[in-house]
């Protein structure tokens, strides 16, 4: 069943996000603690740090994975919320299509940014 498959990937993408967003949040928002432990510079949004990470293969790949998983997880959840509001069938179909379209468009843009910055210094 189609809905079973979508929900299966909703759960799987949640697990993927837990891992990669966990790392991202750790780097971004536990920076003072990490700095006290000797990791990082203590200012993760400084451009030197941002571009140093962006040029590492590990971060480029994980950014793309995180982007895809988070877009699917968030937009499937949003679409499900809207489908529970007793909208007319045509509107429900349009909402589903719009979420899918927005997801693809944002994924292509975000991946382009990740790959372009990765290749900047090479």
């Amino acid at each position: 069943m189609r809905e079973s498959k979508l929900w299966f990937w909703h759960i799987l993408s949640a697990v993927v996000i837990l891992v990669f967003l966990g790392i991202h949040m750790g780097i971004m928002h536990l920076d003072a603690i990490l700095w006290a432990l000797g990791i990082g510079s203590g200012d993760p949004v400084r451009s030197a740090d941002v571009f140093r990470r962006s040029r590492q293969l590990f971060f480029m790949v994980t950014y793309v994975i995180l982007l895809g998983s988070a877009l699917f997880h968030g937009l499937y959840g949003f679409r499900s919320m809207l489908w529970e509001l007793s909208l007319p069938r045509a509107v429900e179909k349009a909402v589903g299509g719009a979420c899918a379209l927005a997801g693809f468009a944002l994924f292509i843009y975000g991946s382009y940014v990740a790959v372009a910055v990765f290749r900047m210094g090479r």
Binding site: M1, R2, E3, S86
Partner: protein, 285 residues
């Protein structure tokens, strides 16, 4: 019936019943009316409504029948929760004001009477009856189906549903979605999927795992919280999701339905069971 006597039934206190009244022939909108009711220790909310009908306002309307929590007729929204009026003693609500409204998420016919057709219609969509490939056997049964005690225990709690509708009133998805099958329907659909005598899983799958099926449940748990019979619809729905999830990873065991037990003819020799003694009274036939 006269009012409760202080020396027979214990101390009497007065509790205010705030009841929603709505007569579609006369009222433009529902309104709340107050009735002070003398209450004794074992009086249920249903007893209170009966007292109002007998002493104060004979036009007050509601559904009730068994007055013992097994027919499912008297579901109402009492002090912030869907409850059975017969199953809740007034003193156990710990309030001097009892607010009674008809069950939410069902249309109101009159006063406290909900239109339960919504629940019955959703219930029908999951085909809540045993489906076997052998229709001839189902229409003209020759014997019982095998089922062990363990196989029975795996689904029997879901079979105790009395169709009271409290779970649909409690569910947040039912509150906004008209197409959601609802905790009652999904639980009954899964009850048959768990029943080892049933062969109709494929027929129910389209409804249970559809876009308005189990995936629109988000484990708010309110259905199980309010269920008066311990059916626990939330458990049935999560078990269905588990089955679909791990089934898609090819981990689910394939299961064949149980067969018909051979019928033992009266008086036949059965191995291990001693023959009955000869009858002492003349037998006919």
């Amino acid at each position: 019936m006269s009012g409760p006597q202080a020396k027979e039934t214990g101390s009497v206190k007065t509790v205010v019943f705030e009841v929603l009244r709505y007569d579609p022939a006369k009222d433009r909108a529902p309104r709340l009316e107050e009735y002070p009711v003398p209450v004794t220790k074992a009086m249920t909310v249903l007893d209170g409504l009966l007292w109002i009908k007998e002493h104060k306002d004979p036009t007050l309307s509601w559904r009730s029948s068994c007055r013992m929590g097994m027919c499912g007729s008297c579901g109402m929204f009492i002090n912030g929760l869907p409850r059975l009026a017969c199953n809740n003693q007034i003193v156990h609500l710990h309030s001097s004001r009892i607010t009674i409204k008809p069950l939410p998420n069902f249309d109101i016919i009159r006063d406290l009477v909900p239109d339960l057709e919504r629940m019955f219609g959703l219930h029908r969509t999951v085909k809540p009856y045993l489906i076997r490939r052998d229709r001839a056997e189902q229409n003209h049964p020759t014997g019982e189906y095998y089922q062990s005690q363990q196989e029975l225990a795996d689904y029997i709690q879901f079979a105790y549903c009395i169709k009271c509708g409290l779970c649909l009133s409690a569910c947040p998805t039912v509150a906004t979605s008209r197409s959601f099958t609802g905790p009652q329907g999904l639980t009954q659909g899964w009850r048959y999927a768990l029943d080892t005598r049933d062969e109709g899983a494929a027929e129910r799958e389209a409804e249970i795992f559809s876009e308005h099926g189990v995936y629109r449940c988000h484990f708010a748990g309110a259905c199980s919280h309010v269920c008066p019979k311990g059916v626990d619809p939330a458990l049935a729905i999560q078990l269905a999701k588990k089955d679909a999830f791990f089934g898609s990873l090819s981990l689910r065991k394939k299961r064949r339905a149980t067969s018909v037990a051979p019928t033992v003819q009266h008086g036949a020799d059965v191995k291990g069971i001693p023959k009955a003694p000869e009858p002492t009274v003349p037998q006919k036939g």
